[in-house]
């Protein structure tokens, strides 16, 4: 297929709660799970689950700082996600432009043939 979507990546960023977690990490740099849990409307367990999926998809990485585990974005993978999104959008823009050209040509043609026809 022409859409080279990375299933794991799409699934990881497709869930709105997960994206909310990812957004917070993107905006705030290295943060802990409990810091995140204080800023989202779902449970700490849910945050831990989302972090596990994001880590599995390579979108965030963790490091230990003292007694805390901090999560941060993996810029390469996010860059890849951004590019994939932009490419998908560009693909649809090209298709829409072709639809526009075809429809406008068909419309012009039918209008001209009507004008040529004797009344």
């Amino acid at each position: 297929m022409t859409v080279q979507a990375d299933d794991e990546l799409w699934s990881a960023i497709g869930d709105p709660s997960r994206r909310q977690v990812l957004d917070l990490i993107v905006s705030n740099g290295a943060v802990s799970a409990s810091w995140l849990a204080g800023r989202v409307p779902f449970s700490r367990q849910a945050v831990a689950k989302h972090l596990a999926v994001l880590e599995e998809a390579g979108l965030v990485s963790r490091r230990k700082q003292g007694r805390e585990v901090l999560y941060q974005v993996a810029a390469d993978r996010l860059d890849q996600a951004t590019r994939a999104m932009a490419e998908l959008a560009a693909q649809w823009d090209r298709r829409l432009a072709t639809i526009k050209r075809l429809a406008e040509a068909a419309h012009t043609e039918s209008r001209e043939s009507k004008e040529e026809a004797p009344s």
Partner: protein
């Protein structure tokens, strides 16, 4: 609407029925989309789209002339496409006077349409910016990292 992956629009100088035919008739679809289209435009119809030496199954979901047409694709070959294993492509046509039509396409996928309405609404309230903002943030972040 929250959670949609891709939303693109274009304004076309042609009446809505002309645009509808361009979007849905297989001999037209093969000019703007796949190289070869084997598809009957009926809800539930199974078809196939070929792109060069690749291709895949598609299943028509909604046919509501001349305003709505949608299909699912990118699902595993041996499975029926449902919410969760496929991408949904939706075309929406809106007349702008007699000679002009706005065409909108959305492509969404995976878990995106499986959420309860309440959760969608809550997400929308909390997170109005949606993808655009998320992508902006990514771009800003990546630019910062590259400078640093």
């Amino acid at each position: 609407m929250p959670g949609l992956v891709i939303v693109r629009e274009i304004l076309i100088d042609a009446p809505i029925d002309v645009v509808w035919r361009t979007v849905t008739e297989p001999d037209q679809v093969s000019q703007w989309f796949a190289d070869r289209v084997d598809l009957v435009i009926e809800p539930g119809a199974h078809g196939y789209m070929r792109f060069g030496d690749q291709g895949g199954p598609v299943v028509v979901e909604t046919v509501d002339p001349p305003t709505r047409f949608s299909f699912r694709w990118n699902h595993p070959r041996d499975e029926e496409p449902v919410v969760g294993n496929s991408m949904l492509v939706e075309f929406t046509l809106t007349p702008e006077g007699d000679e002009r039509t706005q065409l909108r396409v959305t492509e969404s996928g995976h878990e995106l349409r499986a959420w309860p309405e309440a959760e969608k609404q809550r997400y929308a309230d909390e997170h109005r910016e949606g993808w655009g903002d998320f992508l902006d943030q990514l771009v800003t972040l990546l630019a910062k990292r590259q400078q640093g």
